[in-house]
């Protein structure tokens, strides 16, 4: 009560100084609260809608990112081929007979060129000019002559005959066709003349869009229409193999020691602080370590999945140790005590009771670590996995590149067709990550049910 009286006295004093407070003096505290309630509720609503819009904004970002990349990637999954009338004339091939030996060294480029000139006689009957010839030849993939070779080698009876062969179009033409220009219109890097040729081929129904198998079966190439991800994918698998082989046992062993055996002293504290800090060290620093120590001191080969795997192991080890420790900590102490009570040694308790119990959590942690390593690029740039490598690596000491680095390399390429390739490679990488994460979730729920 005295409080209220005090208030009213205060109000009286204030009335003299400020006329605008007149209203409030006539109201009790409850009324004041009731009056301000509307404003406060409005504030509450505003705050809540801020929160909701932040969440929606987050969703939007995910959607925009994924749909942008998917949309850009779609053109990469199909490719235009063209049916060409090829004349395997012996004079053009520059060989006498159709034996395997002579077929393998015949001149297929001239066959391709001359067959093409025959297909496109100029309207006036004139011969094609030199510039026209060059422009015409540019429409087809540089790989076309090898396609001709493979076709003839596979069926030598075509020797000296005219046959239809499907060959790849050049990436510029491929992009042009995918962009949906109207027939015969010059565009992208195609001239009027070239566009008309394409229109002619189209009207004769010689052009066909096929699923781009070579994207999955070829390795990197300077020619976008030939470039594929097989080499990078193999490199990724080899690197992940090394990473898993090293980081899983080491991580589990380290976690077991720290959780089950380590005495509480400064040394253990030091290890713990170390692990926590390593988890936050930028990945590129691990690349510097790999370059300066693993390559320059130990002399392991540059660009090899072995070195990549070791660097990624060092990087993911903290993640795996931290996750494994949490899983081991979650094993109820009653299990340990029961086993100890039956006379098992500390080591037996650890390996036959604690470890199996903690396994689901440990596996989940390891998978998260591997997923992290799978998408990592920066440290691998440092150890030279960024080179242009055409061969598919066959061992962990071969030069190789990995999928994220391939994405980085392609993203840098000026050719328009590489844009779609890059996006498609990203989709493959994201799909891999999705599979890995889903596996982790499924494994966890399966183990938990048990």
């Amino acid at each position: 009560m005295t409080n209220l009286e005090n208030n009213s006295i205060k109000n009286k004093n204030m009335r003299n100084t400020d006329s605008s407070t007149t209203l409030s003096t006539t109201l009790s505290t409850t009324d004041k609260v009731a009056l301000s309630l509307k404003k406060r509720h409005k504030k509450e609503k505003r705050f809540k809608s801020f929160g909701l819009s932040a969440v929606i904004f987050g969703f939007m970002l995910v959607l925009v990112l994924i749909s942008d990349i998917t949309f850009k990637a779609l053109p990469a999954f199909h490719q235009h081929w063209v049916k060409v009338e090829v004349n395997y004339k012996n004079t053009w091939l520059n060989i006498e007979d159709s034996s395997k030996q002579s077929l393998s060294k015949a001149n297929y480029r001239s066959v391709l060129k001359k067959s093409l000139y025959q297909m496109f006689p100029t309207t006036s009957g004139k011969k094609l000019s030199r510039k026209d010839k060059r422009q015409l030849f540019q429409l087809f993939s540089t790989n076309a002559e090898f396609t001709l070779k493979d076709t003839l080698m596979a069926s030598p009876e075509h020797f000296n005959k005219q046959v239809n062969v499907w060959i790849r179009l050049d990436d510029d033409v491929d992009s042009y066709l995918k962009e949906g220009f109207s027939s015969g219109e010059a565009g992208l890097r195609l001239s009027q003349q070239q566009a008309q040729w394409i229109a002619q081929l189209n009207s004769e129904q010689r052009i066909e869009s096929r699923f781009n198998v070579s994207f999955f079966t070829n390795s990197d190439s300077r020619e976008p229409e030939l470039a594929g991800i097989k080499g990078a994918l193999t490199g990724t698998l080899l690197t992940m193999f090394v990473t898993l082989l090293l980081s899983f046992p080491l991580g589990v062993a380290g976690a077991l020691y720290l959780e089950e055996f380590a005495p509480k002293n400064r040394w253990t504290d030091l290890i713990e602080i170390n692990i926590n800090n390593l988890a936050a060290v930028p990945s590129i620093v691990f690349g510097l370590l790999g370059l300066a120590i693993i390559i320059n001191v130990f002399g392991l080969p540059r660009s090899a999945p072995l070195v990549g795997g070791i660097v990624l192991t060092l990087m993911t080890l903290p993640t795996i140790i931290i996750a494994s420790r949490a899983a081991i900590k979650a094993v109820p102490p009653s299990i340990r005590e029961a086993a100890l009570g039956l006379g098992a040694s500390k080591m037996q308790v650890t390996f036959s009771h604690v470890l199996p119990q903690a396994m689901p959590g440990i596996i989940t942690g390891a998978i998260i670590g591997i997923a992290q390593a799978l998408g990592e690029t920066a440290p691998l740039l440092m150890i030279g996995m960024v080179a242009f490598i055409v061969d598919v690596p066959t061992s962990i000491v071969d030069s190789a590149t990995v999928l994220p680095v391939q994405i980085f390399l392609w993203a840098d390429s000026p050719e328009r067709a590489f844009l779609a390739k890059t996006s498609a490679a990203i989709l493959v990488l994201l799909a891999l990550l999705l599979v890995i994460n889903v596996t982790a979730t499924v494994l966890r729920s399966k183990f938990e049910k048990k």
Partner: protein, 481 residues
């Protein structure tokens, strides 16, 4: 595995497999020996330990010392062989500078790898050029040395494996404590695994520190820390114009801070609001859906963000900016910063959510009981109480942004501009590390060493932020426990 290790290392992988089979065999051998000591399978109860434990110990004693020898041998092999080879070279070549000698040795190495012994011999006899003859001879010596090393390695590893098994097995008796001994070994292995973390840190410090000290010998540390001019191109020839290179890292630090600042400007409010909404307002259903959805953002590889920033966000920003009549660099700091912010949102939101939900419920309920609205409770009670945790989260996020590489490599520029304009192009520490170390490099030039000095700065900064963040969070925990 043999396939994986490849043809070149056929001998190494073959040895590795022999060792593994030997280890498996010694498990069986140890087991049988223990039974024999006991006097047959029916008397195995007389042994102190199970026969399997005898087997396990034998396998470990067989495999481990041999494996360690193999690893040490492999890592030291190259250096020793190189030293031996150098001593056989003529004195005129030995007097080369270390770089020239390295090149010369490289030549010989590739020659020894690519050619057969016969063709080398032919090369020696058929070549009149004395210098070339010397090279062929050296390559031949190298091949011989390599061959000897392989024999030595194989012999050493196998002898160690066999001898240690024999020595062990001779000690077997009824009271032999096989289990205790094997447990000691396992324990040592566990300790060794946990020490790897320390070794890694040590390795990082050594690798960046030594190269940095090397670098600071040619470029004074003050010039590096406070110089405002960054152009690391050093001259190929000494008489070249403008090729001395300047290594003032201030523009890089400024660029890094600018991009980090932009990223935080996006990530902190959005991340914090998401954390508040999901922990205080959202239904369980929405939470179950939203959390994994946002985790997608955290799981996307940074190279994908880099691609998105460079090819989608940057052109959009450029177009929008130009429609307002602003000049926007095609590799603007804004694009890289915004995309980096996107990447960090889930990081901030999950850490702040942890901090908010760690606030004792009593505080929240007391505030609500007094009639405060939810938003008032959040702003006046929960956030102040969770502030140390949130600050820790933000510090960790900053450390993350500073160390992030791929987004800035792909979306930020190379030019070291000293500017605070987010529409301009800036470069960062990580971008320069990548630029300096990819492509052609000679190991001892200031240009490559500068990358390690930048790496040192990066390591110290992120480590400092991290330790600070952990300290802040730990202090806060003590308050309520």
């Amino acid at each position: 595995m043999a396939l994986l290790l490849g043809f070149k290392n056929m001998n190494s992988s073959l040895l590795f497999f022999t060792l593994i089979s030997l280890t498996l065999f010694s498990y069986w051998f140890g087991l049988q020996r223990s039974l024999k000591v006991a006097g047959g399978a029916e008397h195995k109860k007389d042994l102190t330990c199970l026969p399997e434990q005898f087997g396990l110990l034998t396998a470990m004693v067989c495999g481990l010392p041999a494996l360690i020898t193999l690893l040490i041998f492999n890592s030291a092999e190259q250096i020793v062989i190189e030293q031996l080879l150098t001593t056989t070279l003529p004195t005129s070549i030995q007097a080369f500078s270390s770089i020239d000698l390295g090149l010369y040795l490289n030549n010989i190495r590739s020659m020894a790898l690519s050619e057969t012994t016969q063709s080398l011999l032919v090369g020696i006899t058929n070549n009149s050029n004395l210098a070339l003859q010397e090279q062929y001879k050296a390559a031949l010596t190298l091949q011989e040395l390599n061959q000897q090393a392989i024999w030595l390695k194989t012999g050493l590893v196998l002898v160690i494996a066999c001898v240690s098994v024999i020595v062990l097995v001779r000690k077997f008796s009824l009271t032999f404590q096989a289990r205790q001994k094997s447990e000691t070994i396992v324990r040592l292995l566990l300790v060794a695994s946990s020490v790897i973390a320390i070794l890694t840190t040590f390795g990082i410090v050594i690798s960046v520190l030594f190269e940095s000290i090397h670098f600071f010998k040619s470029v004074p540390i003050a010039d590096f820390m406070f110089g405002t001019q960054w152009s690391p191109q050093t001259a190929m020839r000494t008489d070249q114009v403008g090729g001395s290179g300047s290594f003032g890292a201030i523009p890089l630090f400024a660029g890094t801070m600018l991009i980090t600042f932009i990223a935080m400007l996006l990530a902190v409010p959005v991340g914090l609001m998401i954390a508040i909404y999901l922990s205080q307002y959202a239904s369980a259903k929405l939470r179950a859906f939203a959390k994994p959805m946002l985790e997608v953002l955290a799981g996307i590889p940074t190279v994908v963000y880099g691609f998105f920033a460079a090819l989608t966000v940057a052109p959009v920003i450029r177009n929008v900016g130009e429609s307002f009549g602003l000049s926007v660099a095609s590799e603007s700091a804004l694009a890289a910063g915004l995309v980096m912010g996107t990447m960090i949102i889930p990081f901030v939101s999950s850490l702040s959510e942890d901090a908010i939900s760690a606030v004792p419920n009593a505080l929240k309920e007391a505030s609500l009981g007094m009639g405060a609205t939810k938003s008032e409770t959040v702003i006046k009670v929960l956030i102040p109480a969770a502030l140390p945790g949130i600050v820790g989260a933000i510090l960790l996020a900053i450390s993350r942004a500073i160390g992030e590489t791929m987004i800035v490599v792909m979306a930020a520029g190379m030019a070291a501009n000293l500017t605070a304009n987010p529409l301009d192009s800036v470069t960062t520490v990580t971008v320069q590390i990548v630029t300096l170390l990819t492509g052609d490099q000679e190991f001892d030039s200031p240009k490559t060493l500068a990358a390690f000095a930048l790496g040192l700065m990066l390591f110290i900064t992120t480590l400092g932020l991290n330790i600070l963040a952990l300290k802040v969070v730990r202090k806060y925990r003590e308050q309520y426990d």
